[in-house]
Symmetry: C2
Subunit: 460 residues, 2 copies
């Protein structure tokens, strides 16, 4: 450090050496929470220099995870609850650690599985994937697979099905894969020709597996028009069941990958498709619509005095002062509004509401205000660090809770909170905005701080 920052004086290093976090408090939204613009995701309280040292670290640890979880949750909403979503992003992520973060937060956002084995090991996420094109291409002829009972059975099935035009190397690869994973046979069928070779070779091998009492899982397609091919493949499966008088093919799983993003999922829904599982990589771990989330870390109060960073754009204005966020529910099940208050204000209480209701206000537009009568109030920020990591009861978290338990809890919270929203707030086109309001006291406070601290420049 001294050689990197020679301009810093010795006192800085003495201070660094004795630095500790015993007087630091962090309040945070629970992991997996649905949050809205202008809400504090974290509130950090402590000595100013310590709080400033944490700025980049906290932003780094909040921005990318929140982006990926949001991206994943949007894909989950677009795909619908019945589809399976697998994260395939490691190869396009920002290094190994970016890949592991992406796997973890995609899971929170609603993905089921990851192809990242390390993420599986660290967080107990189901590891899932298929084989590569190069696996298929590494077989050229049927001689590339050693003779076996199963191979002979497969060749017999091919004969009965009269599927001779298919690629022999591909068939050899499928035989090899099915022999190694008789209970996990998913074939990547687009190395040569999906309909003329891949799906037929899959059917041959799946039928052979069936005859030895095993059940193939399905196919993966990684190119071409996914809607068209998935329908063609389902059709083929149904007709094979008819021809063979079996009941095994029509329900085979069809996995699709290749450049899938939220818009592709929505377009596939509109067109109709037969895909059961989506493998999503690049567009999950790098979000094309918004490659970076712009969370900021701002000083809002010092020695009890509210501070404000001026911005010419009111939408970018940070609300000054130490704040709490409450989610307020009415008679229906959905939340009505998130209410920001000064930390010093009493929490709104369902049992203690003025006759006409509580006034909630838009932070910037005087004319936008409303009354609410809460039936339930949830405080969104809770103490997570108080000189050490703590639970809501103020004690350290129990050691029996696994990484997977914590992740599942966050994942369920994300799902439940998204389901709670009104459907017009989560629809794809022109979603209705969810209200984030401030209390009357905070509104007055805001106006006062602005008047005091915002410069008044003269046009000239």
């Amino acid at each position: 450090m001294r050689s990197l920052l020679p301009q810093a004086d010795e006192g800085f290093y003495t201070w660094l050496k004795q630095l500790h976090c015993s007087s630091l408090k962090i309040y945070a939204m629970k992991e997996g929470s649905v949050v809205f613009p202008r809400e504090p995701l974290l509130r950090v309280e402590g000595p100013i220099a310590l709080a400033q040292l944490l700025e980049t670290t906290l932003l780094n640890l909040v921005n990318f995870p929140s982006l990926v979880a949001t991206n994943a949750a949007r894909m989950r909403l677009a795909a619908g609850p019945s589809k399976k979503l697998m994260e395939f992003g490691l190869r396009r992520a920002q290094g190994p650690d970016g890949g592991v973060s992406a796997s973890k937060y995609a899971y929170i956002g609603g993905f089921e599985a990851t192809s990242n084995v390390l993420a599986g090991q660290l967080f107990g996420i189901k590891v899932s994937g298929t084989h590569a094109h190069s696996f298929v291409m590494s077989y050229s002829t049927l001689d590339d697979i050693a003779d076996s009972d199963f191979k002979r059975l497969v060749l017999d099935c091919r004969k009965k099905l009269d599927y001779y035009g298919t690629n022999d190397g591909e068939l050899a690869a499928f035989i090899g894969y099915a022999q190694s994973f008789p209970d996990g046979f998913v074939a990547l069928i687009d190395t040569y020709d999906m309909l003329e070779s891949g799906v037929k070779n899959f059917i041959i091998v799946a039928w052979a597996l069936h005859q030895i009492g095993k059940k193939a899982i399905g196919v993966r397609i990684d190119s071409g028009d996914l809607a068209y091919f998935s329908k063609k493949i389902r059709e083929t499966f149904r007709s094979v069941d008819e021809i063979l008088n079996t009941d095994i093919f029509h329900s085979m799983v069809i996995v699709a990958s290749n450049d899938i993003n939220e818009d592709v999922l929505l377009a596939l829904n509109r067109e109709g498709h037969e895909i059961d599982v989506f493998g999503i990589g690049t567009h999950l771990v790098t979000c094309q619509k918004q490659p970076a989330l712009g969370c900021v870390y701002k000083l809002v109060s010092i020695n009890g005095v509210a501070r404000i960073k001026v911005s010419e754009d009111p939408e970018k204005m940070v609300i000054p002062g130490s704040k709490e966020v409450y989610r307020i529910y009415g008679n229906e099940k959905y939340p009505l509004v998130d209410l920001l208050q000064l930390s010093t204000e009493p929490a709104p209480e369902p049992g203690n509401v003025p006759a006409r209701g509580i006034m909630v206000r838009h932070p910037f537009y005087e004319s936008k205000r409303a009354l609410v009568r809460p039936t339930k109030v949830v405080k969104l920020l809770s103490l997570v660090f108080d000189g050490r990591i703590v639970e809501e009861d103020g004690n350290p978290p129990p050691t029996t809770v696994t990484a997977h338990d914590k992740l599942s809890e966050a994942r369920n919270r994300c799902r439940d909170q998204l389901l709670e929203l009104r459907s017009d707030q989560t629809r794809e086109v022109n979603p209705a905005p969810y209200k984030v309001s401030v209390s009357s006291d905070l509104y007055d406070h805001l106006k006062k701080v602005w008047a005091e601290q915002m410069p008044l420049s003269e046009l000239k």
Copy 2:
């Protein structure tokens, strides 16, 4: 691993245990090389299963670094050679490790410094930055800074300059910063009002520093119209030099940050500006135009037989076979073409060219071909791993080479190779494409492999 992949049989784990890389060879483009679409960046030779295991790791380690280095190099071209570029991306990167990768490869692409202290420590990159808005905001009045000779001198300067309308808290912050870093005073001047407060407070403190024999560095602006404000600030500096009869302000450094990307740099050039240094974060570590680089890892040959992965899109077709890449120069200094050949073909030699020249062909369009007479030929792939990491001489790299030496070498290579290109190939609008051709032998080989391995489907 066993619990994660219960479907794998014991033989797989036995195999994993005895796995070693002694028979693995990797040929690679030198770090920092300028490369073009369809060229192999790496050629991996070895047992098929081992080569397949490396797929995701190699893609992860090549895709993001190449993207960031390319992005940085484009920003360097856009900014021009005389500007300084600082990497400020950690807070928006994919986790701490993504941030460190970004710092490293931004340096190779032509950035000078990073705000990431760890990257500075690991790679010897210059660490640079300024203070935060929150640092300024943590001071409210002049009483927030203890009395000192320097403070009194500053207040005296303010009086002489008659700069009374400026924000007192901001002035206090600048005094504090200048006292701690008298040789590194760069002030962030846009917390309140850039022209009415920030730049004036900077001038007050810089003048005081001058009077004690120190030289301030300059100012940073992080919002607003960067072209307009940089010109206004330069104007102010010049007029202050005139008023005070000094020679210190006109050449003060102006640093700009805030949402800068390649297009902003180009637009600033067109409009004219007075910025000396750019701090670029978000759009460097996450590339909005193309958030992920789509490098792929394909099997091109097995047991000496070329293999091809069929794609309906010829542009996506991978050229089969084990290949070399040669960069060919003519009489001018710039390279004429990159030539892909089969590894078995002899390298083109300047001293051994047929009378009419060497035929180079477009890989897909028969009509596109040309003759070249090389005056210099550079082989782009070299052996970097041969059972262990090796240098070109086949020996392990000397232990005396530091991480910074390697990085500087790559950075110089990137700069030199970009300078070598014709300017119409690097211009911003409609750049002339650089030719990537194949030899006649490789062209014939291509056609043969396609005919053999590409399925012919029937329209129906």
